[in-house]
């Protein structure tokens, strides 16, 4: 099963193996032949991992799953178009959002924070969920914060140099839309330690953690994530106290009912709202992955800008 949400251990181990090949510049062949279940969040993670091979001109190829549903998902996901298009040349700063086709998925790599793109994605999602254009301010906040996080923190030594992948899966029959966001940076929890040596903030996470040591001694990275969500630990890579409010803001939006099924994986920490658990991954994920769904019970507001649609 290639699903980061439902098989996080298996996928993170697979991605770690791909990572090892990337770092040694070893060509890879991705065998998807025996994958029985492939989800759109899995496609987003795979795209994010393989894009680096393309960008660094490391040869790779792969095969299609035997399973017809899995084959349909990867073929229709935009995976190949996104992987082969964009890295041919310089990254396109103004990629556009195309409403999903029959397969109902959108996956693109972007770099800048694009709030207008977020608004258009939400408008399309709202038509699947409510049958009309509506605004979802909590989802918009989440998209902005995630893009922002990638721009600022995913590669602390080179802000704005990494891109992100968003997959949007419209499940028409259930009036539900699932979102997966991936950035393949250093991960939220380790971003502080990547400040250049000599920087005032180098190794700041160690100092920060020492303040919370009694709480996290047995909880590890999942406990750090919980402390950040709950606003007890204010984590910012910049060292500026007024920053670092993005993750608590996303968690607040989830708690306020703006979206459902919130799952976050970063470094060795996994939070799954579906069973309200924080746990440690045996193979850490070097990046940030967030999943959530939108359904008719979530908060929304009447459309206010159809004229800009």
């Amino acid at each position: 099963m290639f699903s980061f949400v439902d098989n996080p251990e298996g996928v993170s181990a697979f991605i770690a193996h791909v990572d090892k090949c990337f770092h040694t510049r070893t060509p890879v062949h991705i065998v998807l032949l025996y994958v029985e279940t492939l989800t759109y969040d899995g496609v987003a993670v795979l795209l994010s991992a393989m894009a680096r091979f393309r960008a660094n001109r490391i040869p790779f190829n792969g095969d299609f799953p035997h399973n017809l549903d899995a084959r349909r998902i990867i073929a229709g996901s935009g995976f190949f178009e996104s992987l082969y298009d964009t890295y041919q040349t310089a990254f396109r700063e103004h990629d556009s959002y195309e409403p999903p086709g029959n397969d109902g998925v959108f996956a693109r790599r972007m770099r800048r924070v694009d709030s207008e793109l977020g608004a258009r994605i939400i408008q399309a999602a709202s038509r699947t969920v409510w049958g009309e254009n509506r605004r979802c301010t909590g989802v918009q906040r989440t998209l902005i914060e995630l893009m922002h996080n990638t721009n600022n923190h995913a590669s602390p030594s080179e802000p704005g140099k990494l891109d992100w992948v968003l997959s949007v899966n419209h499940v028409q029959e259930d009036h539900k839309v699932a979102f997966s966001f991936v950035d393949y940076g250093v991960g939220v929890l380790r971003s502080l330690d990547y400040k250049p040596r000599g920087s005032k903030f180098f190794g700041a996470i160690g100092k920060l953690l020492s303040r919370f040591w009694p709480k996290i001694m047995h909880g590890g990275e999942p406990e750090i994530l919980r402390l950040i969500f709950d606003g007890e630990m204010h984590l910012t890579v910049t060292g500026k106290d007024y920053r670092g409010r993005g993750l608590p803001g996303i968690y607040e939006a989830f708690k306020a009912g703006h979206f459902s099924d919130f799952v976050m994986i970063t470094n060795g920490a996994l939070y799954d709202s579906r069973n309200n658990t924080y746990r440690e991954l045996s193979t850490p994920f070097s990046g940030t992955f967030i999943y959530w769904t939108l359904n008719p019970h979530n908060r929304s507001l009447p459309d206010a800008f159809t004229d800009t649609d």
């Binding site: 694009d114 709030s115 608004a119 600022n152 704005g160 007024y242």
Partner: protein
């Protein structure tokens, strides 16, 4: 005086800083918010900021806009509290959030000064 973010700035407010993307909090503060606040203070009028009708706000946009009034533009919290009023029927909780950002900025600036 009225400042309606949806029509006077953008329906889709964006990131914190100009270099991060379009419709940033920094751009809003510099080109719209701070000049209007200054104008309102000069005229001894109140400024009603209408937050409704947008796609939504990131925390960094709000912090940079409103916390930045104190941190970057040199306004004081008491001045702003006296001048600014808010309308936020879409998300009433935004008002409390904005006020918290301004209070934190005032505390940080006060600490630097002392």
């Amino acid at each position: 005086m009225l400042l309606r973010i949806r029509t006077d700035f953008s329906t889709a407010p964006g990131p914190r800083a100009c270099e991060e993307g379009k419709h940033s909090g920094e751009e809003f503060r510099k080109t719209v918010l701070a000049p209007r606040v200054r104008d309102a203070i000069d005229r001894k009028e109140s400024l009603l900021i209408d937050l409704d009708g947008t796609a939504g706000y990131g925390t960094s946009f709000l912090e940079e806009s409103f916390g930045g009034l104190i941190r970057e533009e040199g306004f004081r919290l008491a001045q702003l509290k006296e001048t600014i009023r808010y309308k936020s029927d879409d998300e009433p909780e935004l008002i409390e959030e904005i006020e918290a950002y301004m209070s934190s900025a005032e505390a940080a600036v006060g600490k630097e000064r002392s």
